[in-house]
Subunit: 401 residues, 2 copies
């Protein structure tokens, strides 16, 4: 097998942990696999470098930041390669550039455009373990670029895709993807397999094991992703194509998001283009609108409800200030949370939603907004009921079994 | 003017010192110059990275070491560029690769083969201050290389040569080149100008402001080097072509080297090739032989004296062990030191040597070996007289005036 492994900042947080990672990689290699490893900077390094830059400027240039921040991953890759060589393996550390990772020119959040796999393939054919500095690439004009948050995951997924690797393992400090946040529901169970789409919907769950950009890229490139812990030998969770999952559970997990606020536009004039106007002004301010619900119009008036991230409440208020005259009121509610039921099996099963509504009603939890997609039902409830709702739903769908 | 400035590890040792360097660079730019800055890693960084590598291996691979060690300079260059931008200047940080520094493939001690100045020239024409990460380049096969000890000085000199800069200023924590080590002779005087050759001969002096590789390269590329301190505004010492020095002093400085040991091969059979045999076996072991003196042969026997670095005494003994049978004795003396008088004016002045011999004799200092070149007279004396000899010679040639 060709395996790409990615080890995050805590997994390579100090020299002993890098030695531990070397042992894991060695084990994978000894089992007869070809191995490409992608590493992050040692935890704390990137923040240290950012604080250095902020000593000089509150708005340091992105080109310089990329040069600065890309150095941490280089250090880790060199050290891990040295450790593997000392164990008797052929190993080679590579920067993003050397690994052939070509990006666009959007510094600090570049997108990978192409991977030139020549150098990688040559080393793999030579039985060499490759250790790539994650998070970075090179633009067409030769500048060092970085890929933004979760960038090392993206490096691993992109390389796995380009090399058509059998597996891309993302090592963090959590065991995998759970049916819900185990801190809320101790009966939460680790999932063996989950589809890309379910993973994307669950991303807002407490345990943020993967960023959506990486899952989306894995889906696009058809990469089998495994998320697992570098601190134990537990099997992780495989994130793969829906077709690869034989027994599709109706519900795979319950996600909770406490970082949303609700905006209610009450009795707004219902004329064509009015929603476009509201959301247009929010989009201009880069405010990320999530759930949107519009009720039926009566007497030429309509109610429009939506959620936004709590930390964008003030900028939302400012953005909507000019629209007070065409509505009866604009109300804001921050004491809410969003509970979501996610599962590909929903597509072919009826009654999933009604079971949820019934169960929550039984606990006297009032549902304030509902929004559904093919594989997700999201409900806005009073924040104080968040944990109770998660546990209730976890039980309704027998997720601990 | 086009000025290349290089700031060493102590000059960029912490964030405040980097800010100080930014002010110096800004001053140079404001005076109407075009400026390229070359920076080292913050002091301590390189040693930290080496200790990390040694945690994993006593003999880490050179390719990996280069990737590891080149990261420190990148951090400094990004930070200095950010500081300059914040002050309102156009600035750009560049790695060795981006600055067009092409080297051979001898990792950890690569030689610069070529500098592609396109990118540098374009930025200079755009009135941009360029901040280059020193000590590093890229080999033809795309790997990161480093230039070995004093590598950032080499980067600066090579760039100054390639761009035909008017001046290459090497900033350290000392003021310049002195007539002798001020710790030995407090009357030592800072030299205003000195020729490349004199600088090369004085390199063994206490204040090691520049490595010979950099001076040799400056001589080859005809680069006007200035060595000065980044901690004050004192004028430094200009190291330049002999032709540029109007008044050539007979003697420029007195150098002292306490790290030599003397080897005496007593009554050796004097046949052709015998010296070649001794020095051949030492060269094989990479033992650096310095002064060599052979006396006239009598009765088919000769004496052969030479000096070696003290720390290579044991390997020298081992190397010469097999030659005991063709000599009466091989003697080793570690309690010696080498005092040298350096000056381009010697070429045209007579009596320089005899003044030295007379002055030392007056102090009862016995001279054990003498070796002369066009611009240098070196004498081996008992180590205990080292400081007295330096002060005596400093006075004989009126170097404090």
């Amino acid at each position: 097998m060709l395996v790409v492994q990615k080890y995050g900042g805590t997994s390579v947080g100090d020299l002993d942990r890098i030695a531990n990672v070397a042992n894991r990689v060695a084990q994978t290699k000894k089992s007869g696999n070809r191995v490409v490893v992608v590493v992050s900077a040692m935890s704390g390094e990137t923040n240290k470098l950012i604080s250095y830059a902020e000593h000089f400027s509150k708005t340091p240039s992105n080109v310089e930041m990329d040069l600065l921040l890309s150095s941490g991953e280089r250090v880790t890759s060199a050290l891990l390669s040295i450790a593997l060589q000392e164990m008797g393996f052929k190993a080679r550390a590579m920067t993003g550039r050397q690994a052939g990772i070509l990006t666009d020119e959007i510094h600090t959040s570049a997108r990978i455009e192409e991977i030139n796999t020549c150098a990688l393939k040559k080393l793999l054919d030579d039985d060499t373990i490759i250790v790539v500095a994650g998070f970075q690439g090179i633009s067409k004009d030769g500048n060092v670029t970085t890929l933004g948050r979760g960038g090392s995951d993206l490096t691993a997924v992109a390389i796995a895709g380009a090399l058509e690797a059998d597996l891309c393992e993302i090592y963090t400090d959590v065991d995998g993807v759970y049916t819900t946040d185990p801190r809320i529901e101790p009966k939460a169970r680790k999932l063996e397999k989950i589809s890309y789409d379910e993973m994307l919907e669950l991303a807002s769950m407490g345990a943020k094991v993967l960023q959506n950009r990486s899952v989306e890229l894995a889906k696009k490139l058809d990469v089998n992703l495994v998320t697992r812990s570098s601190f134990n030998d537990n099997e992780g969770t495989l994130i793969t194509k829906e077709e690869n999952i034989m027994e599709k559970p109706v519900v795979s997990g319950i996600a909770l998001d406490k970082n949303q606020a609700r905006v209610s536009i009450v009795n707004c004039e219902d004329k064509p283009g009015i929603a476009a106007e509201f959301f247009g002004v929010l989009a201009e301010k880069n405010i990320n609108v999530d759930m949107i619900v519009q009720t039926n119009s009566h007497d030429g008036k309509t109610d429009l409800d939506f959620t936004i991230p709590k930390n964008e409440l003030e900028s939302t208020k400012a953005a909507l200030d000019g629209y007070k005259n065409i509505t009866e009121a604009i109300e804001y509610d921050t004491d809410i949370s969003k509970v979501s039921i996610v599962g590909v099996g929903m597509k072919s099963h009826t009654g999933v939603a009604s079971s949820a509504f019934k169960a929550l009603a039984k606990e006297n939890i009032n549902i304030k907004m509902i929004s559904t997609s093919e594989i997700k039902i999201s409900m806005v409830i009073d924040e104080k009921y968040s944990e109770l709702a998660v546990r209730t739903l976890h039980e309704v769908y027998n997720l601990d079994k």
